[in-house]
């Protein structure tokens, strides 16, 4: 309990003094996570819709694999991306290991199946409603996907926010591919892991409270901007 109360006070102190290291860490956390979630959404949302409107061989298998990938172990993803980007790996020449870009790549791999899978389930329900209308109007497959994504946009925010929640709290993969380098690849989660290992529990708890606050603030901001939970909108 002492660590929690001290942690709370530490969190307030860090926020009130606008600690420069903290600001840097928070901004890098947001930069990596928001970029990864944006890229994962650009891939995952259309993929989820595409899987709904298309019938093809191995479709069920594809959906099952996608659902299974939601539980992809981040450490394994980190190891895979590390091997791909290390000097002896196929993409070693790009020199991306231990950079924020490597962290973004790892997070995209972790988050994309989650966004695609949730959006697939959301859009499947909307497709059941719209199916006859869109077929009757002779909409092409591309038009069907576009309409479903647009009309389901408010429900799809849940998929994006789930991806954001997973990415902002992720530590295993980005620790491996980012290296937790001070002023370069250190983010909130890797800082918490480091401070905990050093025995600085109050500081780690302070960072943890800030991490949770950032996650809630982003969720609130997106809900406010997208006008969800209002009776007069859909």
């Amino acid at each position: 309990m002492d660590s929690i109360s001290t942690g709370l006070m530490e969190a307030f102190r860090l926020i009130l003094t606008l600690d420069s290291d903290l600001v840097e860490i928070v901004l890098l956390s947001l930069q990596v996570t928001v970029t990864a979630v944006a890229i994962a959404s650009l891939i995952g949302l259309p993929l989820g819709a595409w899987l709904v409107v298309n019938r093809f061989r191995f479709r069920r298998l594809t959906i099952s694999v996608l659902n299974a990938l939601m539980g992809l172990p981040p450490v394994v993803v980190g190891l895979f991306v590390y091997l791909m980007l290390s000097r002896s790996g196929p993409f070693g020449v790009l020199g991306l290991l231990f950079t924020p870009t490597a962290m973004i790549i790892a997070q995209v791999i972790i988050v994309m199946p989650l966004i695609a899978s949730i959006s697939h389930q959301t859009i499947r329900d909307l497709w059941a409603e719209y199916h006859d209308l869109l077929i009757s109007l002779n909409a092409s497959h591309a038009q069907r996907i576009k309409v479903l994504l647009w009309d389901g946009r408010r429900a799809l925010i849940t998929a994006v926010l789930a991806g954001f929640g997973r990415a902002i709290g992720e530590v295993g993969a980005i620790m491996i591919v980012g290296g937790n380098i001070d002023h370069a690849t250190r983010v909130l989660t890797t800082s918490i892991a480091l401070e905990t290992s050093k025995g600085n529990f109050a500081f780690a708890m302070g960072l943890g409270i800030i991490l949770i606050t950032v996650a809630i603030a982003v969720n609130l901001a997106i809900h406010t901007i997208s006008k969800t939970e209002r009776a007069s909108t859909w």
Binding site: L126, D132, S136, L137, Q143, D151, R154, S232, W234
Partner: protein
């Protein structure tokens, strides 16, 4: 015909529709000509909806042929369908009505101007900016009719468009359908509402047990129905 080559007549020959081995419809031989308002009648479960969906191409057939005067893609673009439970898009009323035009390439501004005109014609001028899923049942069905007619289809299929509507809403929708028919739209409508059929039909297709028992001009159907099932139906008896 509404511009360009006509897609009619529609010819069904030996059409059969099955679901998991169970035959729902057929064999059906039927020709839908270029003019008129055809009402498809019959008791619940007779196959009215299946017949309409087969004609429109929404249901795959298990046997026989469905032929338009032009190739299927061109024919589909000149058809519209109004469903018994109107499908409400998660959009505002004006955007929902404009949707078919925008889908087929018209710019938003022009599409919305036409949508507003259609909304006023069907009596939805007061709810233009409302969310479509939030309007009343009668208004939803009017929206569905306006959305179907806005692209000037050559043929319009309606599946019990006035089921569950009050008298006033029914009258308003019937007036719109009559206007569309006078403007040259071929209408094929399923209903088991005898009064509505008497008011609108130029000819009647009576369906029972998945088969067409009668295809006849409306006057003759209501006064001299041939089959016992049709006679009982016209007299308001229970037809099983």
């Amino acid at each position: 015909m509404v511009g360009g080559t006509t897609i009619l007549p529609l010819e069904l020959s030996g059409v059969i529709a099955r679901v998991r081995g169970k035959q729902l419809l057929g064999p059906i031989d039927l020709t839908i000509g270029a003019t008129g308002l055809t009402v498809v009648m019959g008791p619940n479960g007779a196959g009215k909806t299946t017949l309409l969906r087969v004609m429109h191409g929404l249901r795959r057939i298990s046997g026989g042929t469905v032929n338009w005067a032009v190739e299927d893609g061109a024919a589909r673009r000149k058809q519209a369908f109004v469903f018994q439970s109107p499908i409400m898009m998660r959009r505002r009323v004006i955007d929902s009505i404009a949707f078919p035009l925008i889908l087929h390439g018209m710019d938003r501004k022009s599409a919305k101007i036409r949508a507003e005109d259609w909304a006023i014609r069907v009596g939805l001028g007061h709810v233009l900016q409302d969310w479509a899923p939030m309007i009343s049942g009668g208004e939803k069905q009017k929206l569905a009719v306006a959305r179907a007619l806005i692209s000037a289809p050559e043929i319009l299929f309606l599946d019990e468009p006035c089921a569950n509507l009050d008298g006033r809403s029914t009258r308003e929708i019937e007036a719109v359908l009559k206007q569309a028919e006078h403007a040259g739209t071929r209408i094929v409508m399923a209903t088991h509402n005898l009064g509505q059929a008497r008011r609108l039909a130029s000819d009647v297709i009576f369906v029972h047990g998945g088969k067409i028992l009668e295809i006849t001009p409306a006057d003759r159907f209501f006064n001299e129905a041939k089959t016992p099932q049709a006679k009982a139906f016209v007299q308001g008896d229970i037809v099983e």
